[in-house]
Chain length 144, copies 2
């Protein structure tokens, strides 16, 4: 009856999972995102993380992304016509730049308060997003 009793207790304790484990894969993924300091796609993350964690699978990347979003560590960055990227949460309001050569996304500081004036009468403005397009420093031939 020991098993049954334990099961009953677990059920009573609202199906509490043992605990979140701190795995090597998840640590590597987190570090990759912190060091990149710009939005990365799941594939970007996989590529970068595999340097430190060989054999890492794409499913694990997606699972880690979901977990980290739930924990408030990551936010999704949506760029027109592109699959979502992800970057570390907590940054102050900012926008993004997409390089037309390498397709990478970069953070852009600053905003335009005047943007509040663009909404026509009758439209309730709740938020906005600015995306700049062009060529990033590396792709223009600059060292870094």
């Amino acid at each position: 009856m020991t098993d049954e009793k334990r099961h009953a207790e677990e059920a009573a304790s609202q199906h509490r999972p043992r605990a979140k484990r701190r795995t090597r894969q998840r640590s590597v993924i987190q570090r990759v995102l912190l060091e990149a300091n710009r939005p990365l796609s799941p594939h970007d993350i996989l590529q970068a993380a595999q340097a430190t964690a060989p054999g890492l699978g794409i499913a694990t990347v997606y699972r880690a992304i979901h977990t980290m979003i739930t924990e408030g560590l990551l936010v999704a960055v949506e760029i027109p016509g592109e699959a979502p990227r992800y970057e570390t949460a907590g940054k102050e309001h900012h926008h993004h730049f997409q390089c037309r050569t390498c397709d990478d996304i970069f953070d852009i500081q600053g905003c335009l308060p005047a943007i509040q004036q663009l909404a026509p009468k009758g439209f309730r403005l709740e938020g906005h997003q600015v995306v700049l397009y062009g060529v990033c420093p590396p792709c223009t031939g600059m060292p870094a």
Copy 2:
């Protein structure tokens, strides 16, 4: 030999297709886009056009979109996290508003020249896009 001669002529004339036909379906699709005066998704177009052209298929909508883009009558409008919409070409530079209630996209007149200052040093700025989010007049309870 009449047939062979005609074929030869056609081949010589660079495989010229007989002509673009002005079909009922394509006319209806074009009218829908003109009257909407805002970006529509292929599904939006299908829905609206079926009122006038019962039995219209989604494939025809996609084909018409491609044709019209090639002819310079339409342009694609990409909104973050959304499938592309399409609107009539030739409008002057403008941006878009997405309603968080109905997901519809609306044209927004005006722009922000100061946006040119947002690109950091080293980034070659070639274009930009602004998307406003909020609630459109109909969804706020306004008649129209």
